[in-house]
Subunit: 129 residues, 2 copies
DNA sequence: CCCATAGTTCGTAACTTATGAACTATGGAA
DNA sequence: TTCCATAGTTCATAAGTTACGAACTATGGG
């Protein structure tokens, strides 16, 4: 029976731009990373529901692995659960501004979408009522 | 027989962060974009050889399409060939700093790799000689 | 009209990603 | 201990994406 592999955390010099971009080009992963930035030590299952979507836990596990192997987060077992934190400071040192700018853009876009959503809802309401 | 579809250029507000990150997470596409930034109006076949790699033209065509549909470049037919230019200014306005920071990071990494390559070559030479 | 050059599209093989089911790991209760 | 619950991982496979040769479209010049 297959044993469980140890978690892989690339050393700072093995982190690549391609890897970071690819990892953060997925909206779910970007949302996880954003949340971890404000809420260090969150566990995986804290994200079973994210941005109004249900994510199956196997999928979630893959997303965490992707972030981990891109060098964006660090995961450590703590008892029965997994504590995750960002490696922002390290990555920032290697590629100054990269991750911050990406997350800022993601956030700007999310806010824009929220506004657009509200506009649409308001329009519908005024038509109906 | 299938007709040729017109080229698709998303309007500025339809450009997404995910799309940009995904497009630029491929080293070939990032290299094309970087080259277009310095050398506006280059044609597709100018890139059949890029970073010491031969890219088949069908693959190249897909890469250009990916950049175009992410909103990063504009392509216009000019006679028998296609002139490509970046939409950097527009994208910069929508997501300030995003593309510039990404390209800077890509470049820093490329230079680092060059240095590492030279180190390795020098070490091999000193061992052999 | 035919040819050459420049790109696109298509078919398919290779790779990636998503997800349910079955597993491992850990700690606490009986 | 043994059993159980919780937290994540791995596996199998289905669905989606990407790479690339071959065949196509498009354009301009003999």
């Amino acid at each position: 029976m297959r044993d469980m592999r140890p978690l892989i955390h690339p050393s700072i010099e093995d982190i690549t731009v391609e890897g970071i971009l690819h990892a953060l080009s997925d909206p779910v992963r970007a949302a996880i990373f954003a949340e971890l930035a404000v809420c260090a030590g969150a566990t995986c299952s804290n994200f079973l529901k994210i941005s109004d979507r249900d994510i199956p836990k196997s999928t979630l596990s893959q997303h965490f692995r992707a972030l981990r192997e891109a060098g964006l987060i660090r995961s450590e077992r703590q008892g029965v659960e997994m504590r995750n934190s960002t490696r922002y400071a390290e990555v920032e040192q290697r590629f100054p501004g990269l991750v911050g700018t990406i997350m800022k853009a993601h956030q700007a876009q999310a806010e824009e979408r929220l506004r657009a959503g509200r506009r649409k809802a308001a329009a519908k309401k005024s038509k109906a009522g």
